[in-house]
């Protein structure tokens, strides 16, 4: 818990940051509780990062270990970049939630339990032979036991709701307790409830009563030895909202279409953990936001390609298995040179793998997973809010260079959330792209000299009728052409066009010294963990710097030079070394890997441990 920790003598303990884990049955409303608490801390001025972790089963048996749903988050000052490694507060709604998380809780941390759910039966389901409350196994923690079921039933006995409905309110009772512990206002949640339960007043009143009573309970019973005041972050002035990575992607697609003055066409097929992009966009289906739920992954991308041919700004989203199914059509987008943004929300693989868990293991597929010489722009988002910037940039490149662009996110940043600057996002400038040549001069594959992009003449435009397709085409006219030298030219032109995207990449920022002992090179969702770890290591006096790669193809032009200025290169990634292989092949360097494939994000502790090891050898 932050730097200053808890001082028992103080009534209020000031800390830089805190990590809390909410855990319970998947029917306990844990995700909602977590999201509401995240919004509450954000409104209070904290920076934050969240990590929802839910089971992939429809609904695992109640009280079972497999059915535990978790929501971990870190909040505090500007240095919060990850959802934290080890929670210093665990809220466990049942024994299974305690059993699943206890290994990750350090001695001295706070554990808040809903004691009413610690019956012999549910203890058994969680695999406890004796009650952890009695056998001393929790003696190193500060355990706070609260009979939440009893309290909520008493609170809402006159509400007119059924017992089942009343018990559903217990997550907000718990939220009231936690808000008191951190000195946070419950007002934002009450405001949210007024909107959420606008049509069901009895539920609205019950939930408002629940959170208010929870807070009052914590205040009056003095179950906490002290309260915490978590340091606020200093952020750019403006309007903010909390966004998950999937929301940020959806907003970015809407933004890009607006900046292009085009209709958005989003073709998608349901797949975890990418479906929320479809959900968000479907909610805003309107004049300029066209959403199509296709019959399969292939049709999702094929319809998007058709829409792109017809002049819409087209995008599709998917995850692992769906990405594989889209490979063939991606090849068509490459050869027909149409703009398209594909979001791949990576999850644990291969095959169905770990549908709800995170990984970074689709990198090589994004780079090379197509037949033929099939170069494509590949980018990766660094955090939940960065999914917005990355997707907008991907759209700009796709249109400017007439190419498909893959944006890699993953389950961690797609479901996790962080504050997002709304004012900045609403004030982006329109994209500018080259005008079509006059009709008489139009040739479908006659390229722009600078970018090598071919003109985008949409179906319906008089005088520009033309045919494109998957067959190799003539270097200018686009008619079918099988001649050997023409294929050589076209193969090289397609490669060169993608290579020229390097001009769009800003100089790589080095965090730390410009040269030295160790350089940590990260890409995608590991940004927060790496930056936090490098920061810690530097405070310890270790000569370590870091860079973060957003453009995976083409790679930044300064990457080789920068890496050669360090004695050792460390590449942490959530796979068995895919980016490390790319670095080896491109720069003939021999980086050290830190590889995690647990379905859980790399933490700053993982990275810090490895950095320290590099210095102790």
């Amino acid at each position: 818990m932050g730097k200053s920790g808890l001082n028992k003598k103080d009534k209020i303990s000031h800390i830089d940051s805190s990590t809390i884990m909410f855990a319970g049955d998947s029917g306990d409303g844990i995700q909602l509780l977590g999201h509401q608490f995240a919004d509450t801390t954000a409104i209070a001025g904290n920076d934050l990062s969240t990590l929802p972790d839910y089971p992939s089963e429809m609904r695992a048996p109640a009280g079972s270990l497999g059915g535990v749903s978790g929501f971990q988050m870190s909040f505090g000052d500007d240095n919060v970049m990850t959802p934290g490694s080890k929670p210093d507060v665990l809220v466990a709604m049942n024994p299974a939630a305690l059993a699943v998380n206890i290994e990750n809780i350090e001695n001295g941390s706070i554990i808040i339990l809903n004691i009413d759910n610690f019956t012999e039966h549910s203890l058994g389901k969680a695999g406890y032979i004796s009650s952890p409350l009695d056998d001393g196994s929790l003696s190193n923690y500060r355990v706070i036991s609260i009979p939440v079921n009893t309290l909520i039933e008493t609170t809402l006995k006159d509400s007119g709701l059924t017992r089942a409905q009343i018990l559903k309110c217990k997550n907000f009772y718990m939220l009231g307790i936690v808000c008191w512990m951190y000195g946070l206002s419950i007002k934002p949640t009450i405001e949210w409830m007024k909107v959420k339960f606008k049509k069901n007043l009895s539920l609205q009143h019950a939930n408002i009563k629940a959170i208010t009573a929870g807070r009052a309970y914590a205040e009056s019973t003095q179950i906490f030895e002290a309260r915490f005041q978590v340091k606020k972050a200093i952020v750019m002035p403006g309007k903010y909202r909390n966004v998950t990575g999937n929301e940020a992607v959806a907003y970015a697609l809407i933004a890009a279409a607006q900046m292009l003055k085009k209709k958005l066409f989003y073709g998608a097929y349901p797949i975890t953990p990418a479906t929320d992009i479809l959900h968000v966009l479907a909610r805003y289906r309107s004049k300029n936001i066209r959403v199509f739920q296709a019959e399969d992954e292939i049709a999702a991308i094929a319809s998007s390609i058709g829409a792109s041919f017809t002049g819409a700004f087209a995008a599709t989203g998917t995850s692992g298995p769906g990405f594989s199914l889209k490979s063939e059509a991606l090849g068509l987008a490459v050869i027909s040179e149409l703009p398209l943004v594909l979001i791949d929300v990576q999850r644990g693989g291969p095959s169905t793998g770990l549908p709800t868990k995170t990984e970074q293991s689709d990198l090589l597929q994004a780079l090379y997973g197509r037949h033929g010489e099939s170069p494509m722009v590949v980018m990766a988002a660094a955090s939940s809010a960065d999914c917005f910037d990355t997707t907008v940039e991907a759209a700009r490149i796709a249109v400017k260079y007439m190419t498909p662009v893959v944006v890699l996110t993953n389950a961690f940043i797609a479901n996790g959330s962080e504050p997002f600057n709304v004012s900045k996002a609403c004030n982006l400038k329109d994209f500018k792209f080259p005008k079509l040549p006059p009709k008489e001069e139009f040739k479908p594959y006659k390229r722009d000299e600078k970018t090598l992009a071919r003109p985008w003449a949409k179906v319906g435009l008089a005088g520009y009728e033309h045919i494109i397709g998957g067959l190799e085409k003539d270097v200018e006219t686009g008619w079918i052409n099988y001649k050997p030298l023409n294929h050589v030219k076209m193969t090289k032109l397609r490669a060169e066009k993608v290579a020229r995207v390097v001009k769009e990449i800003p100089p790589t920022k080095i965090y730390g010294d410009q040269e030295g002992e160790v350089l940590v090179v990260g890409w995608g969702s590991t940004f927060g963990a790496i930056t936090t770890a490098v920061n810690e290591a530097r405070k310890m006096g270790l000569n370590v710097s870091s860079i973060h790669i957003k453009h995976l193809n083409p790679l930044p032009s300064d990457l080789g030079t920068i890496m050669r200025r360090f004695r050792k290169i460390l590449i942490p990634e959530e796979n068995l070394g895919q980016f490390r292989m790319i670095v080896k092949a491109n720069y003939l360097l021999d980086p050290i890997g830190l590889n995690k494939t647990e379905g859980q994000p790399l933490t700053s502790e993982d990275v810090l441990r490895k950095i320290k090891k590099l210095f102790t050898r």
């Binding site: 909202r241 809407i254 309107s286 300029n288 058709g306 179906v459 008089a462 045919i467």
Partner: protein, 332 residues
């Protein structure tokens, strides 16, 4: 532009690309008729989009000077869906074959029809994979010797019309590639149809399945082999118009009568009757005459129309209105 003033001929719709099909291929007739149909429509060139997959038939877009997209195997209905949804004002045609539309692309054909997307699917059924030089397709008959079935096929074929009618397709027709008059009539009706139009062409392939459709070519017999289905007219066939279709106990039968004296029990065709269309789609020669013409033609709102209504209802949603909605906070 006043489209009614558009005066064009089929030649105006021919592209500069040399046509590369085997001499005598049935595809030529389809191409010629599409050019003619397009010329007769009150739509300028740029409003046509012809989308194809892979196969002999899928070369067709190259030979039309409209917008065209020669896509990948089986995916034409999905690409065409994206084209139509991105701009519903377009006349979107899919040219496909039995392997392309019914085997590798079966799912896309199925869902385009189910959703009633306003595309015209012209399925050139030659009962063989011809471009890959002769393997059995989903419409190849039983026990036919092909390169992939040297001892005869053992897969039961299926009937494209039954597939389309089973999916409640709003326009279903079948035409012989040699019958240009009927093709003109069917294409014109398909072009006007809102929603999915599914047209099966019995298409001879000289290289592999020429004999397949031989019996239809025999001028002396073809009137006895086929029944021309016309809305509001009795199902009468035969060179002397002396045979008719009756339905007893849900079973169709052929009865014979004196020329010109059609008995009242002969079925008068109704193109809005799905059950009737389904019964006819199961007719196979020699037991029954093969039905050709428009088997089904009904009105039902197309997907893009329903989509348009929903979008109109929602109005204009901007990024600003979404992002600045509930859930924000401000810092100074």
């Amino acid at each position: 532009m006043d489209n009614s003033s558009l005066k064009r001929t089929a030649r105006d719709f021919a592209s500069k690309c040399p046509v590369k099909w085997c001499p005598g291929c049935g595809d030529f007739a389809v191409l010629a008729q599409m050019q003619r149909t397009f010329a007769n429509m009150d739509l300028p060139h740029e409003k046509f989009a012809v989308i194809s997959g892979i196969g002999c038939s899928s070369r067709l877009p190259y030979y039309l000077n409209t917008y065209g997209f020669h896509t990948i195997h089986g995916r034409a209905p999905a690409v065409a869906t994206g084209v139509k949804l991105a701009n519903p004002d377009l006349s979107v045609w899919v040219v496909t074959g039995d392997g392309d539309a019914l085997s590798i692309g079966g799912n896309h054909t199925l869902h385009a029809i189910r959703k009633n997307i306003g595309i015209k699917i012209i399925l050139l059924n030659n009962r063989i994979y011809a471009l890959t030089k002769g393997q059995s397709s989903p419409t190849t008959k039983m026990n036919v010797i092909t390169k992939s079935s040297p001892s005869g096929t053992i897969d039961y074929p299926f009937t494209p019309l039954r597939f389309a009618i089973g999916l409640d397709c709003t326009f279903v027709a079948r035409v012989m590639d040699t019958d240009m008059t009927m093709m003109a009539h069917v294409f014109e009706a398909a072009a006007k149809h809102e929603g999915t139009a599914f047209v099966e062409i019995f298409q001879r392939c000289l290289a592999f399945t020429n004999v397949e459709f031989d019996h239809f070519k025999d001028r002396t017999k073809k009137e006895d082999i086929m029944v021309h289905v016309e809305h509001g007219k009795p199902l009468v066939f035969g060179k002397n118009k002396d045979k008719g279709i009756v339905i007893k106990n849900f079973k169709a039968e052929v009865i014979e009568f004196e020329q010109g004296k059609v008995p009242p029990e002969v079925v008068v065709y109704d193109e809005s009757n799905t059950e009737l269309a389904y019964v006819l789609s199961g007719f196979f020669y020699p037991d029954m005459p093969v039905p050709v013409g428009i088997l089904k033609n009904v009105e039902k709102p197309a997907h893009e129309e329903l989509m348009h209504d929903k979008e109109k209802e929602a109005g204009d949603i901007t990024l600003k209105s979404i992002l600045e909605g509930p859930g924000t906070w401000e810092t100074n």
